[in-house]
Amino acid sequence: MSEVSRSSEVFVTVEGISRRFVPHVSLGDRIAAALGSPLEQRAVRAVEDVSLSVRRGEVLGLVGESGSGKSTLGRMICGILVPSAGLVRIDGESVMSGGRRPRKTTTRVQMIFQDPYASLDPRMRIGDTIAEGPIAHGLVSKADSLAYVQHWLRRVGLDPDAAPRYPHQFSGGQRQRIAIARALAMKPDVLVCDEPVASLDVSIQAQILNLFLALRQELSLTMLFISHHLGVVRHVSDRVAIMYLGRIVEIGTADAVYTDPQHPYTQALLASVPQLVLEDDKMVSFKPIPGELPSPMAPPPGCHFHLRCTFAQARCRVEPPVLRPAGAQAAACHFAGELQFTR
């Protein structure tokens, strides 16, 4: 499978990573546990045994509906959340491994968040926000920091004279540019972008997507691009991973995954996205996925998707499928490669 071959190029490796969140345990629950009702089952399995790799200079898109574990996975790769099991390696160096916090947090991975309002300190001048990290890590001296900040402001399409201003003086799109400048000023090898355009209007979204595409070219960034927006992910990604309830159900080149999906969930998800209709009087029928997203506290056994899947068989209700080659990509379905989707 193409996932692990050509190891010389592989830059980010995620091996069997999992993360559980155990909710606060009440006295009643503890008594129930003492009486034999398993506590462990009430934990949210936000990410379950995920393995993947990203090559140097590659953009891996991570798509999935709300609660599928995208942010949790991104935060573990970034080194700001400790996994329950598994490890993350950047360029061969282990930055995170199961259960342990690393001795020093890596600056090689930087993260950009969805909400540029929340991620910038409202009381700090944006120039200071951008310079803080690089000064602390010795990337630039205090004396040279203004020129450094101005360089990055210019790079992300902002007025270099804006450095003394405060976040509230900027629009949403401009704040996202500031957040990008702050991340890039740390000279990261890897950028994890968690829904970076989700809160932006489409005209501003287009500006920021163009900025990502340009920066990626010039700085040969390796990127994990997280979004629930399938069109955006397709546009920026070389390869794409589809998540459902904590697991990767399909991964491959963007082209393969979008034009020839192998997992029933991917296929149904793509079909449920409304398309621009340009023909007069065309009868449009929506193709929703039946049922609800199950609670991540109690995902269905076997294949997590079996309750909503039109192809499910008895086996799907008990045996969790593993990722295996199908088409030009890999899919975690017992019948991957054998299914005929009607479109």
Partner: protein, 324 residues
């Protein structure tokens, strides 16, 4: 001649704030026919919700309707006393909001909320209310409606709550439903369920729908006509497919070009430069001129609405029609 279902003419809703006048809705005109679905699109802050609120008479100070007329089956709504408007709301015009909790009361069961909503306009027994609740919830695709009536909103997923809010809007079979981004906060697989249900409801019940959204694809699949809003004004309108295939206003074209599906993967999108204007400090003339590639001196004066048949636009230099 039978009156149009809804006739909006030169509607203007302004907010008189300390910082100045915010022209949230300015000179908006459109018609809505019985059973028709129109889409109102535009970016954040362009005045979509305020247009919807104006139709419902829900504009609070410092805002007010400063000009124009809204006729529902010939009856003028602008200037009606609050009490008369309250009687219309829910019964003849209803609204569905992006956040269903705007409609739902967190401390009441679904059955109680629906009973209250019915009581706002007619007196019915608890048993009758329950039966109507089951009927209307089943209509919007809520499984086991009977069993779920005594649940509270927090026991429902976001998609389920939105279905309940839609069910409440349907209770009195209003002539017009204004749906303000009702699926924007939902996951795509759930959004598709609600879009499919709304579409068949409108068809089966013959209701008219104003679908507010910033998502052109959703509107293109829902609405037969589209109104494109920018800076509080409708800058272009017409049959949806025709407008999207053949935009005449530069903003409409810019919006379309901003969609990732409009460029090959990895290729730069044709972006609109600059930022949307603040409605409290609109540029003079055509509000789009600072961002428009075609703007010249004449654009500093406001363009009139021009066009033909059911297509119109507000632009001094409209794009030329590509197809007939």
């Amino acid at each position: 001649m039978t009156a149009r279902l809804l006739e909006v003419r030169h509607l203007a809703t302004h907010f008189f704030t300390r910082a100045g006048v915010v022209k949230a809705v300015d000179d908006v005109s459109f018609d809505l026919e019985v059973g028709e679905v129109i889409g109102l699109v535009g970016e954040s802050g362009s005045g979509k919700s305020m247009t919807g609120y104006s139709l419902l008479g829900l504009i609070d100070p410092p805002g007010r309707i400063v000009q124009g007329s809204i006729k529902l089956k010939g009856q003028e709504l602008v200037g009606l006393p609050q009490e008369a408007l309250r009687k219309l709301r829910g019964r003849r015009i209803a609204m569905v909001f992006q956040d269903p909790m705007t409609t739902l009361n967190p401390v009441l069961t679904i059955a109680d909320q629906i009973h209250l909503a019915i009581n706002a306009h007619e007196r019915v027994s608890t048993a009758t209310a329950r039966q109507r609740a089951v009927d209307v919830l089943t209509r919007v695709g809520l499984p086991d409606a009977d069993r779920r009536l005594d649940a509270y909103p927090h026991e429902f997923s976001g998609g389920m709550r939105q279905r309940v809010a839609i069910a409440i809007a349907l209770l009195h079979r209003p002539d017009v439903i204004i749906a303000d981004e009702p699926t924007t906060a939902l996951d795509v697989s759930i959004q598709a369920q609600i879009l499919a249900e709304m579409k068949s409801l409108v068809r089966d019940l013959g209701m008219a729908l104003i679908w507010i959204s910033h998502d052109l694809a959703v509107v293109s699949a829902m609405a037969s006509r589209i109104l494109v809003m920018y800076g509080g004004r409708i800058v272009e309108s017409g049959p949806t497919a025709s407008v999207l295939r053949d935009p005449r206003h530069h903003y409409t074209r810019g919006l379309l070009n901003s969609l990732p599906s409009r460029a090959a993967p990895g290729q730069p999108l044709t972006q609109i430069s600059g930022l949307p204007p603040s409605l409290g400090a609109l540029p003079p003339g055509c509000a789009f001129h600072p961002r428009c590639p075609r703007a010249d001196a004449i654009c500093l004066t406001a363009p009139e609405t021009t066009g033909h048949e059911r297509r119109d636009w507000r632009c001094h230099h409209p794009l030329t029609a590509v197809s007939a």
